[in-house]
Point group: C2
Chain length 129, copies 2
DNA sequence: CTTGACCTTCCAGTAACTGGAAGCCTTATG
DNA sequence: CATAAGGCTTCCAGTTACTGGAAGGTCAAG
């Protein structure tokens, strides 16, 4: 399989796949012509990575997850710990965004949004204290 | 005022303030010794930027907001439009994170997290289809 | 034989800082 | 007056996870 087909099947750009090779997440072999030659196992790894990334895991987390996945003697506790930690980060981000949302939607509500310069949003941003 | 005091009063690192100057968000004057000399107006702008950043606005949005703030003949509609657009992005991020959260917390729930290698989280990530 | 679609590598840019090195300025102290 | 501490300066590199683009090799079709 060439990179284009793999990209299509894994649902990610070829660029990303090359990048993943560059940082050592995958190691496709090479054909005589210099093209990357992907096996099913490479495709499988890429799909794994794609799903992990879709869940918001960082590349380094993905590297760890992949290593755990390939380590038959892993302890599920390690995986769970990593996932829980990530979940906590997600929670934190959600809270932060919700807080932003609350403030900002109040301000947007308060702004009449017409041709006049008077604006509660700017007033809030420039408020003393 | 030197940069240290401004940093303390604006609640951001000196590094950030230098960076904001570098990208043209502020233009503090200079003392004879080469130190940046901040006026109250600079501090005010930095506080404005800090609040806008805290609401998640990008630097470029901040630049626009600052320009609008300083333009006495702005139309509040412009500010409101920018804020609404940002609010939509926040909504999108929250949805995405909530979706990740839902999937991941299910998986975490399902993982016994002990010394055994069996792990629903890895199973899901490596699932065909 | 040429065209077009793939493939290759390499370099640069993105967002918004952050860390660190090398060195000048200022102030307090012995 | 020498020096040491702390603040200031600039400049360079690194971070995250790609993405775009240039220059050029390869392959299948007409």
């Amino acid at each position: 399989m060439n990179i284009g087909e793999v990209a299509a099947r894994a649902g990610m750009p070829s660029k990303t796949i090359r990048y993943y090779e560059e940082i050592g997440l995958i190691r496709p072999s090479r054909s005589a012509n210099g093209y990357r030659a992907f096996h099913e196992s490479d495709l499988h790894k890429l799909a794994f990575l794609g799903r992990a990334r879709a869940l918001g895991f960082s590349i380094e987390d993905c590297r760890t997850l992949l290593a755990l996945y390939e380590d038959g003697s892993r302890e599920s506790a390690q995986v769970k710990a990593l996932a829980q930690q990530h979940l906590a980060e997600i929670d934190a981000k959600i809270s932060q965004l919700q807080s932003m949302h609350a403030t900002l939607s109040d301000l947007v509500q308060a702004c009449h949004g017409d041709a006049r310069p008077d604006c509660p949003i700017l007033a809030d941003l420039s408020s003393e204290k």
